[in-house]
Symmetry: C3
Subunit: 138 residues, 3 copies
């Protein structure tokens, strides 16, 4: 997986939020080759006092539609692939729900393939244990 | 510390949530040799629209009881130890509150020993500064 | 950016929370040389059952004013600089809103310069693409 955290100001419609979640996932499928079924997303809606952002840092003009997309992901992709993801997310969210590209903030958080269990108490991405047929035994 | 984030669908009982938190901590004590008093856990209850998960990815069948357990931890343990943690968490939560093992999702997030301050403005895990008696002086 | 998550028990005043957010940011500016405009902070207020902390781990005596400050940051600073940050945050929050230094818990979460997009689908901190004038093209 990536595990995606989507943080935004409270008060957007469910359709708006769903479009963001859909667009982020489609961009991950397209650019990071994430399997379509590998979708896990947690949305955090913040009250205004709990959501602090600079409206101009780096000359990017942000509005109250700004969204922070934090993606925990096994960190083996190169810089060009990460850049492709950023472009794809911004393009998708500009299409639907119609965000300004300036309002799309993305952060990648790295971990490793051994750092995931998708259930059953197993590290599914650790290949050698599966190949050896000693899955779950050490 | 590890710092543990537990994310689940809103509406579970306090006892259910506490059992999850207890089980995760016991598993950390058993398999990661975390001191029993080293317990810091934040629970995030999400509305249904804000909690998106695939019910079948990797052939693991998840239900609305699914829980995401994200553990920020100094990343010096080997793969076998991480696998032992996953098994122990799934077993504990199967016992109490009686989760299906398929519903236990775990993600480790790595940092370093110098990345923690437990209070007083000090990096308690940075040993040399303590040894030199110049704690907190540089 | 750093992206800062501030987690605390629900029920503090907006002024209390704002003072924490201000103090954390000022400390980042002073010790991490973060630009003043590089401010992005998300506050998480937890119900008591969802906020579990040990009141004595490592001999640090924590109260219900305890605050967890998780800072996602490009991980190139040395240990002494991180220690300076911890001291500065604790000092600032002791001044205002008057927290006990024991109640200030800080965790750094590492990523890289290529792991940030501040809007427009661009990895603003990746220098070579900007220098080459091929920004956003690969």
């Amino acid at each position: 997986m990536p595990l995606v955290h989507i943080s935004l100001l409270k008060g957007k419609s469910p359709a708006h939020i769903r479009a963001i979640a859909d667009g982020v996932h489609q961009a991950l499928v397209e650019t990071f080759a994430v399997p379509p079924a590998d979708r896990f997303q947690l949305v955090h809606q913040h009250d205004r006092d709990d959501f602090i952002y600079d409206a101009d840092y780096l000359g990017v003009h942000r509005s109250d539609d700004v969204v922070f997309i934090s993606i925990l992901q096994s960190n083996w992709r190169d810089v060009a692939t990460k850049q492709a993801l950023y472009r794809a997310v911004a393009e998708r969210l500009a299409e639907n729900p119609g965000l300004r590209r300036e309002d799309v903030q993305i952060q990648l958080v790295p971990n490793g393939r051994e750092d995931w269990s998708f259930g059953n108490g197993i590290a599914q991405y650790v290949q050698d244990t599966v190949k050896d047929g000693v899955k779950n035994s050490h």
